[in-house]
């Protein structure tokens, strides 16, 4: 990873000093040691701040939404999942491919920052849940690739096992499970804010008129919010797992997102989101011979 970090700095230096890009999005070392925060570099002398390590969780593509006003191209580093986020935003017409210089990093899989808390640098740390069964560790779109492509490896099945367990339950038990989860939601909207599939300029949750979502923080409103979010990202979620990581109360949101992805693949045979920016999303298109199980 030291090598990747060095290449990142060299690339950023070259892009900025030649004037090819106006801004570079990357990660820098944060505090404590198991956090690597997003950083925005527009001066050559700052490129030494850039790092890549096992705590570069943030999907930087989301920040592209805020950068419409930047004069010139923007360069950003992407892991496999992040690159699908870029495609998502292009697909939604939120950014233009020509405005971007995408630097891909084949991703070795990240570590779990919660497990690292209280430990020291060099200790054994669990892998991040979101990386356990990552299907696309290599960026699917890039202008430059730093390093060799890596194979997709299954490191665990936590989310899949939870889904399988839930699917076997009776409806009442499943309801209890999710009610228990959504009861804890504090409606901070971190899951929405961090998500590259959530990119509406004005979110239905923020609107007072019409008031679709009440402001009361109770189970029913939370359920309304959670289902709305889940359906909204259906067919558009790129499985970056950022929503679940950002959730301060650890609601297993990926057991919701992934279940919908499974269903879409099973029902419509659609490919995962964020691979092809030209293609319409699964719920934005149809086939004449789609299944018709219950009608």
């Amino acid at each position: 990873m030291k090598e990747i970090t060095q290449k990142m700095r060299d690339t950023a230096r070259e892009l900025l000093s030649s004037g090819q890009v106006a801004l570079v999005l990357g990660w820098e070392k944060g505090y404590p040691w198991y956090k690597s925060a997003p950083t925005f570099i527009d001066k050559v002398e700052d490129v030494e701040r850039l790092v890549f390590d096992e705590f570069c969780h943030n999907n930087l593509s989301k920040y592209l939404l805020d950068l419409a006003a930047v004069d010139g191209k923007v360069a950003l580093f992407v892991k496999g999942c992040d690159s699908r986020g870029v495609n998502r935003l292009i697909q939604d017409n939120q950014v233009k491919r020509e405005q971007l210089y995408i630097i891909g990093i084949p991703c070795p899989g990240l570590k779990d920052p919660d497990d690292a808390a209280g430990k020291n640098w060099g200790d054994e740390i669990n892998g991040a849940v979101k990386c356990q069964d990552c299907r696309f560790p290599n960026p699917v779109v890039y202008d430059l690739l730093l390093g060799e492509k890596v194979p997709a490896v299954e490191r665990g099945r936590e989310t899949r096992e939870l889904i399988e367990r839930l699917e076997k339950m009776k409806p009442d038990e499943r309801y209890e499970f999710w009610a228990g989860q959504f009861n804890r939601c504090i409606r901070c909207y971190a899951c929405r804010n961090i998500c590259p599939a959530c990119n509406c300029r004005e979110c239905v949750f923020d609107r007072a008129v019409p008031e679709w979502l009440g402001k009361a923080n109770n189970l029913v409103e939370n359920q309304f919010m959670q289902l709305t979010r889940a359906i909204h990202v259906a067919g558009r979620c790129i499985e970056c797992g950022e929503c679940e990581r950002a959730c301060p109360v650890n609601i297993p949101l990926m057991a919701l997102n992934r279940k919908i992805i499974n269903d879409i693949e099973e029902l419509f045979g659609e490919e995962p989101a964020g691979l092809d920016p030209e293609k319409k999303t699964p719920l934005g298109r149809f086939e004449l011979d789609d299944p018709e199980k219950f009608m």
């Binding site: 499943r174 309801y175 359920q223 709305t228 279940k259 269903d263 719920l283 149809f286 789609d290 009608m295």
Partner: protein, 152 residues
């Protein structure tokens, strides 16, 4: 439709629980089918409220969630058969959307009977009668919905 009013009238005196069921009916097919059922004097239980929508594709999944939130015991989304949509393709989107939403609601713990989707054309008065009758019977057997419902 007058079915909504009948429900209250027929509750004569005794306060037994009766299910409330919301039917989203597409203007061009299912609503006409319901009208035909009425004109043909086909009897069905008075537990449904019909909400006319321009197309089944107009029904946002949020409408369904909101219906349960506000105390409905069952929801039916009904529209034209594939190929018959007044707007050509609306119901194809409905089909994908609700195949998925139905699975999602069930994954959340909603009982499958409580949310249903059907194609009912303008000439299918008897089908409307049969679908609604069966839906009401199923939901009567299950009792009131307590899930995703506002506290009373």
């Amino acid at each position: 439709m007058s079915v909504g009013l009948n429900a209250e009238k027929q509750g004569t005196g005794q306060k037994a629980w009766e299910p409330k069921i919301l039917v989203f009916a597409c203007n061009w097919c299912t609503y006409a089918g319901a009208d035909l059922a009425g004109l043909s004097r086909l009897q069905y239980p008075p537990n449904i409220r019909i909400l006319r929508v321009p197309c089944s594709g107009r029904v946002n999944p949020q409408f369904v969630i909101r219906a349960f939130q506000k105390g409905l015991d069952g929801v039916l989304v009904a529209g034209c058969h594939p190929g018959d949509c007044h707007y050509s393709t609306g119901n194809y989107f409905t089909r994908r959307r609700y195949l998925l939403t139905k699975r999602l609601l069930e994954y959340m713990g909603i009982d499958p009977q409580r949310f249903q989707v059907r194609w009912i054309s303008g000439s299918e008065g008897p089908k409307f009668q049969q679908v609604v009758t069966q839906l009401v019977e199923e939901i009567k057997a299950m009792g009131p919905n307590r899930k995703m419902r506002d506290p009373e």
